[in-house]
Symmetry: C2
Subunit: 214 residues, 2 copies
């Protein structure tokens, strides 16, 4: 640490010194090199009950087993925390997805493969999240289970409530789901086996050079 | 992957199966074990020019050199992103710190040593961030350079503008800074050498068992 500048040197010798020190700080490339894998955003989208969170957590576990840095953002850790001030109006849904996109970008910068699992029904909102990062850093995974499959699963009883009018503006019932037109990956999570779905995501990450081949 | 459940099994066999699968997913303890260090929040607070960001980035670099998972949240990556909708009113400052606290909690959960570098002048706001996590997961680092030192450095020319009345409610000049009463670490970043300051933080992390002894 002998070559370390002092606070005074940093702050009194002008912007160039300050910038030089900041450039010497740790960036995404250095992290990737140290960890042996790149970071990316895996953005899972689909109807309630389509298996987004299940698939994201299964992929997360498979990546963790390989020793990679990963993290899942989903309703459990976002809606009760960062976005607990937001409801389900159009404006609040948009702000919810905006914040998730920004947080995903931070994890990307931190060298972490971040998996987001939210219905995120509106194309414009997903595209804004995509637009926050460089091309290739955002992989949209469309969990394309049919509505009738999702409704028959109804793991949280939400479809029943929506049909009974107890939930307004429920995606797929009383609010639209805008399916991705050109997702990086489309998986029929109504028919496909979970393990096979995980393999499809892993394969996509390998093909893009995000993670090493097994 | 042969024992992997299907989506149908997870969603149709009741909550207990679903919960079991989620419990099998990767938690903070598993990450700590794999990485060989715990995660924590290092919350740097102090006046503008006190060296928070400089110190946080220097600690970050030192931890990275040891192969640890770390990340810095500061004005550069927060104010233009997650919090770009917020200004500097009391309510917006409070919301700014709230969101930073929530994001820091996510990184903590992800197994990352997260360093936040914001003036965060109000005790109540800092204590709310502390209250989001368990005891011992939040280490407040008070960068206690005297106001006259910070003002003489004035790296961004902000004190000059505040004195000229061009910035209203500037912390230390026209808005209060509420110093921490019992921070985990207090460093006189007006007098202390940067390298020595880094060592103090590293030592605090070692003493608390967050990172291994060198």
């Amino acid at each position: 640490m002998t070559a370390s500048p002092t606070y005074g040197e940093l702050t009194n010798k002008g912007a160039s010194t300050n910038i030089a020190w900041h450039e010497a700080s740790v960036g995404r490339d250095e992290r990737s090199k140290q960890r042996g894998h790149r970071s990316t955003i895996l953005w899972f989208t689909g109807l309630s009950g389509s298996g987004k969170s299940t698939l994201a957590n299964a992929v997360n576990a498979a990546l963790f087993e390989r020793g990679l840095a990963t993290y899942v953002l989903d309703g459990d850790n976002i809606r009760h925390g960062l976005c607990k001030d937001l409801g389900f109006s159009d404006a609040d849904r948009e702000e919810n997805i905006r914040r998730i996109g920004e947080v995903a970008k931070l994890f990307l910068d931190a060298g972490v493969i971040v998996l987001t699992a939210f219905v995120s029904p509106f194309r414009a909102d997903r595209d804004k999240a995509r637009g926050l990062v460089e091309d290739g850093d955002f992989l949209e995974v469309f969990c394309a289970a049919d509505l009738d499959v999702c409704e028959s699963r109804d793991p949280k009883g939400l479809y029943a409530k929506a049909r009974a009018g107890q939930i307004k503006e429920f995606t797929g019932i009383s609010s639209p789901y805008e399916a991705p037109e050109t997702p990086e990956l489309k998986i029929d999570t109504g028919k496909q086996d979970l393990a096979d779905s995980v393999e499809l995501v892993i394969k996509a990450l390998q093909e893009r050079g995000v993670i090493p081949a097994a």
